[in-house]
Symmetry: D2
């Protein structure tokens, strides 16, 4: 690959936008060529418009770039979008209509019937929905989305179980990190020493996205998985990493060791295709009785692996376990990046 594919970032100054900048710095296939954010940021230097919150240094080349207007004119062909839902609902269709490949982290279009909602390890085949997507047929542009950060870790843990044993019911309670709310996001006065048992619209997203992700491609649409599900979403004083207490009812009776092996052995399309951002082992089971924990486990495999632990029988359903994943890497920027890599290999970017 002689030259890299130029990409743009819509919503480049927020926390997820910053993760895109960070993760694209040394990417073997993609190169940042264009940045845009709100009108307020237009024409400013990225280093001035963004309040850099990553722990690695802001790449010098990006620091010196100026923010473009958030319009398709002059934007590159491939766009990563990290916009608030309301803005995304307006802008993403504009870019798709203009012929751009929009790889979006926003919730705006995730549940639209002809928009693929994809985790490459789980439902890579759903990208075929693009063949019938209106924008693509008209302009060649399209929108592909990744799920909400709270759904990602859960579905990575569920997918191998669904394939091997079938899932009937899922009960999930989240303890979500503050970075999931962006920056400035959650006020310190709200969360220091506290739990907030509410995140607007989060439970609805988590429930419906899980069923779409685990659903089956049926011609030009997705038949959602027939899973009964309930989610409770809470915010806790953690910087990065959503921890979730999960109970599941499976269709087949299995033993502890079988489930653990199913998780640890799980490999899928991104691993087979050796996509650059693919974790070696997408789901890793931790044997210690008190893991996973955000402090120790959130950065597993560069933040792209889901960590599972505490598998034990459940008094109501079959099994209980805890899953943890990095909300702004695996649950946001890394998710979109892996989608883009999948699209590239499958010939959709070119």
């Amino acid at each position: 690959m002689a030259t890299k594919i130029p990409v743009g970032i819509l919503g480049a100054t927020g926390i997820v936008g910053q993760r895109f900048v960070q993760m694209l710095e040394h990417h073997p296939w993609f190169e940042i060529a264009w940045l845009a954010a709100s009108d307020r940021s237009e024409r400013r230097l990225y280093s001035e418009a963004a309040r850099w919150r990553m722990k690695t240094a802001l790449p010098g080349r990006v620091a010196e770039m100026r923010l473009s207007p958030a319009k398709p004119d002059g934007a590159p062909h491939v766009i990563f979008a990290a916009l608030d839902a309301s803005v995304a609902a307006e802008l993403e269709p504009q870019f798709a209509e203009a012929g751009c490949c929009v790889v979006s982290n926003s919730s705006a279009l995730r549940m639209q019937a002809d928009v693929p909602l994809v985790i490459p390890e789980v439902n890579a085949d759903h990208i075929k929905l693009l063949d019938c997507q209106g924008w693509r047929r008209k302009s060649g542009g399209f929108v592909v989305t990744n799920p909400n950060c709270s759904a990602t870790g859960l579905v990575l843990a569920l997918a191998p179980l669904e394939v091997s044993f079938g899932i009937e019911t899922v009960f999930a309670v989240t303890m979500q990190a503050v970075s999931g709310a962006g920056y400035p996001g959650v006020a310190s006065l709200d969360i220091l020493g506290n739990v907030i048992p509410y995140i607007a619209k989060e439970e609805e997203k988590m429930e419906e996205e899980t069923c779409k992700l685990l659903g089956r491609l049926d011609g030009a649409k997705i038949a959602p998985a027939n899973i009964t599900m309930s989610a409770h979403c809470n915010r806790v004083a953690v910087e990065d990493g959503h921890t979730e207490s999960v109970s599941v009812k499976l269709k087949r009776k299995v033993g502890t060791e079988q489930i653990i092996a199913t998780w640890n052995k799980f490999r899928s399309v991104p691993q087979e295709l050796r996509l650059p951002s693919a974790p070696e082992q997408p789901v890793r089971y931790l044997g210690s009785p008190d893991r996973p924990q955000p402090r120790f486990d959130v950065d597993g495999d560069g933040g792209m692996a889901a960590s599972v632990g505490r598998l034990r029988p459940c008094g109501v359903f079959d099994w209980k376990f805890t899953v943890l994943s990095h909300n702004t890497i695996r649950g946001a920027a890394g998710a979109a990046l892996l989608n883009a890599e999948l699209l590239k290999v499958k010939g959709y970017l070119g």
Copy 2:
């Protein structure tokens, strides 16, 4: 009541022991006359043996008291016990055999068939088990217990629902405060910015105690409630207050308003008897979509009320809600104190 009843505290130097000292300071019926802790503390001044962690000042009279040996000789008739389970298993029977009324917060004897496990609002009648308790028949002494801090808030919220509508299934995920682990308890390196998805033996206690508490007195034993239940227990970086995400399946179909009214109107034995530590309203429903929260709600009614909020339909069972209660007041020292007040009024303290 001319003179107060002298009481002792076993395990007086720990966090729950300190709560007893704090809550007994101005108690109208009881007066601290004796304190004991581990051998290490024996004969030391309380102010030196205890690392006082309450926010109110250590009462001067107690500061000057010396710790007695943890033996029944010389102990008063009424003993509040705040011991670790392993120590309690050994000491509580000794005190009961010696004729003491042991009002215990420990888990050691809670599930013993002839030991009442009591929340006065929920199952005050269970104290009749004492009439058949071995110790009581021999020496007049006895042991009465209150539940684990994680079960208390949950059962306060469930009890009115059980009475009015019947409960079939309970799913509960806790986010528990560090004070529940005593002092020094949870290391700061373990919990700052973190979630620990494990508390040893907590899930088992929560599940079985809930069923005993909601069970029915049947002659000389308790028939546990026929409830299917699953608990996940997590530790979070909160000082005081256990927050719990709960789903329930009820036996009867009811509406939101009916449930809320059932909670808000719930009054029971402690309110009828006007026990000094009884909250005016044991369960209070908070209408705001993001409450209850430990920061704002944990001290409701002096820490003796359970706060409930976010009642909404559940995708798996009937209803979801959040409950919060103070783990070292309502869930420990205050629970035992209310039990002692009930026992006093019912004539069990002699």
Copy 3:
């Protein structure tokens, strides 16, 4: 006092505005009659416009009040102001010109030569500056201010030393609570597990206000105290309470016990006048080697006392100690309230 004095609050919806509402709820002399905040809030119910962050319940009467335009027309005679400095610089003079008694917590006018900057225990006589204040001579209205929250605790600790021994040099490093930055204020992503060694303009305010407060009224102006001073200001992950490490060089040689006694015995005008919000003991020395601490000591005397501890010799100056005070009570709303009480007794409220 048959009827209470009606008062207004400018900036009523912020954290300090909420403290005013909380502290005025049961005030014996004042009664909230008028509330105003930003244009955005105008005409809305207080319960809707303010995101109530206090731990006590929002008083029902205030909840139902509507926010007035932030203009003197229709405002009561006595106004508590809790505005951002830039807004205060514009609005406070308008209210003073219109004849209002403005008791301000803002920094805008604190250093203006004819505006008293007052801590009633320290420099109650400075209110005589009002007799020459331009607004007062024209309209009868005036502005009185209290110091920055970081200066308040420090100056309470310094004042008795200045009186008894004389102060030459002060070195102070603060560790300030997040509530000092208002709401939403400090983002959780900025402060969880972190220290921010910078608070805009705070060090300058702390240094110059300390000298004005400890200065001498000299006819129509204040001669600032001749103290050499250096302040470093840091933000830490504490909810309420500014902790400060202080070293001082005194003019006279004294012993430890003498200094401690000087602090503990310190009583002044508010105590003599028995002002309703005056702490019984404005400065209390805590003998334990690891105190004061925000968790335990911030609410001393209703948050109106400064707590001092760890007095020990300093390798560079004479003495080192730690001081703690509540930044939104003693350092903001309570400070203004005590000023208003002083003004009332001294006949300035008309």
Copy 4:
């Protein structure tokens, strides 16, 4: 270097011991051959005896090693010691007498006249003290120490100023991370949302070690630097990284740019010798007004660089600034490791 030098770790299970294990995993010169901790741990597997608190995985080879008795018999020639001071006072001399090269992080012997206290960038020549050290003359063994974690960052920032401009007075207030207290160390109930203005013996160590480090080797002893110094030490709710507010009085008048350049250009013995653990730039000045901060800056140059910022004039002395360094890397295990590398190159490891 064909084979690596086998080394042992005394106190291998604590937080600093774990850092040694972590930092030695891929070390080019040293290889862990022996581990010891308390009697309680003897003969246990390291993976069972240590509660691993590092974020990288416990190296498999070390996990399987068994803990040896903490005695010189069978110990390798080079020993890293991470013991509590009281234990170190007893054990380190035993190992030195037995001929071991003890590279210690403990405070026990730091101030002993013939024991070098070394930061290789600051006073590498002090290792010549070894030539007169009693143990070395008898058995060939010796003890070399590194300073307290609170002194390390400070002295790294001061050393270039001392060399270039001379230092007269230092005032330092620390805000120290909880990892500095080891594990379990600080109880979460003590530090969540709190500041503790006291760390036992820390201020004394910081003051005297700073003067020894900046002192001059004078034959067989160190003439301490003639610096007047005062330290205040506080604990804050930060995981790793001590932040310090510092004021200094210099002997020569200089400008801001000159000081910043002096810091940024500072290179010394470890950089010249290209020691494997040496940071490229030992002191780096951060230009942003609100840095350094633990969250972003603590891991600079693998945790081996001190970060300095906020240089500005001081109202009392000449200059104020903030310094941050990693307390368990640069301030403990990494410090000892760099000392060992220096000793190796200088021929002291035999």
